[in-house]
Amino acid sequence: MSTASDAADRIERIGIAVGLVALVAAPFVLYPVFVMKLMCFALFAAAFNLLIGYGGLLSFGHAAFFGTGGYLAAHAAKVWGLDPLLSVLFAAFGATVTGLVVGALAIRRKGIYFSMITLALSQMVFFVALQAPFTGGEDGIQGVPRGMLFGVFDLDKPLMMYAFVSAIFLLGMFAVWRVVHSPFGQILTAIRDNEARAISLGYDVDRYKLTAFVISAALAGAAGGVKSLVFQLASLTDITWQMSGEVVLITLLGGIGTLLGPVVGAIIVVAMQNYLATVNFPVPVITGIIFVVCVLLFRRGIVGELRHWASRRASHEG
């Protein structure tokens, strides 16, 4: 009976192998910056997916953490001259704190209420970013130095930067995978399924949810921090609610609750944004159409559909 889900896992493992090879080859074929951007979004989406895919919590305000991370890393690197790694860690830390506050408020409610609360709170974070003196208003923080990693590796060299970003990306993805496939992840899924029952089994569900929320926020913050080093700027776009929508799109398109989904989703969305920018067709319309098509036709997302297909085939054969 387990063969069906094994088959699905196998598909994803193949995907991971292909992905790793691609990761090594990519900087020689594609734009390093493009691939780095993609990794930032993939990590962001993976963090988001941790919440929705495994905790059943749809946060519609995740840009708050991504954006906060971006600003903090940019500020740390530019104004304080921190080491790039420390800047990213600082970003993750800041997002953790933000996540703790937002999460503590939001997990008091469930379902759609939860989404609305995260959305509203992220709007508050947006206004802080808009007004705080250090964020540079609509200009953003420009000219962020990439710096020297450990004072040795010059990240202005594209390949160095690429290696740095890849390392953080892989680490982040591993963290997500670990959390999902951990005892904690199992309890999280159980809580999503039936909260009252989990309570009656003695679980403090709020603590579990909050933990998941904070881990997710921290990773999103790290992703945002890396992004601001890659592009050498932090700006308001990363903290708007439209960005929160975008990460939902990425995850939905790739496959909610799958490990590779966020990566596949990010590849498509980022590539699409770049491509659509140069044709005379309004980007929001295309984005909207993808949303609608995904929801109507393949809710499992690309990776989810693949997994489903594999497991069906396996169970028919088996």
């Binding site: 199992q186 899924t189 159980a190």
Partner: protein, 251 residues
């Protein structure tokens, strides 16, 4: 206080917008007993359960569990003390497999719940115990089936298995036989009897033959208040109980 009494509720009262669902109930459950709470529909049995397990906050009264006042504790904390309930309307984790359902209950006592940095492979150590329970409840064929695909009756069995997995000091079972097929009832009675060894059980049950077979002591509730208490023979003789609950043809 009597050391023999594991659970003691005093003057327990619950009011819903002016309506007394439970009123001045004094309930003592002896350690090691199988105690039944019976009464007509709407008498307040489930409400008492909800109060004891902290799912409701009592309007008045105190609850002592094992000599400690738990009146104002959080539900999860009470569960961790070993006071665990099942639900009247079946409660499983629908998307988890049968094995995982049982394992979730085993995880907390085993200290394998909050670690987000460890591999879930560590959970395999719980499988043996989980499978033993699942076998007891004849659920082996569905071991890796998501709970949602089970029929109603099997869900009840699964829920019971999950509750037992916690090895609670005291179990509160809300109509454990409801929805079970006839063929299974005797089997579950045995399971409960076996599970009750070394622990205390408080159960709500409408199936009187089960009550008479299993329970040492019975409390009858009516309209939120205690109507009678005693062993099965005494209670079933009580004309008020017959009138209010058992009807003409009580066993």
């Amino acid at each position: 206080m009597d050391a023999d009494i594991i659970l003691k509720a005093t003057q327990l009262t619950k009011q819903f917008r002016g309506f007394y669902a439970v009123r001045d109930v004094d309930l003592s459950v002896r350690r090691g007993a199988i105690h039944a709470l019976i009464g007509p529909n709407g008498a307040g049995k489930t409400t008492v359960f909800n109060l004891l397990t902290k799912f409701h906050i009592p309007t008045a009264g105190t609850i002592m569990f094992d000599g400690e006042d738990i009146t104002h504790e959080k539900p999860a904390a009470t569960a961790r003390r070993g006071l665990v309930r099942s639900f009247q309307i079946s409660a499983t984790f629908p998307h988890l497999t049968v094995l995982e359902n049982v394992r979730v209950a085993l995880q907390r006592p085993a200290g394998l719940a909050a670690q987000f940095w460890r591999s879930s492979d560590v959970l395999k150590q719980l499988d043996e115990r989980a499978i033993a329970l699942i076998e007891d409840f004849k659920l082996m064929p569905w071991l890796r089936e998501p709970a949602t695909n089970l029929s109603y009756g099997r869900k009840r069995a699964l829920e019971l298995a999950t509750t037992l997995a916690l090895e609670p000091r005291m179990m509160l079972l809300d109509e454990p036989m409801a929805g079970l097929g006839h063929e299974d009832i005797d089997h579950v009675v045995e399971l409960i009897r076996k599970a009750a060894q070394g622990r205390t059980v408080l159960m709500v049950e409408h199936n009187l033959s089960v009550v008479s077979k299993l329970c040492d002591r019975i409390t009858v509730l009516q309209r939120g208040e205690i109507l009678a208490e005693g062993d099965y023979a005494t209670v079933s003789e009580d004309p008020r109980v017959r009138e209010a609950y058992m009807g003409k043809e009580a066993a």
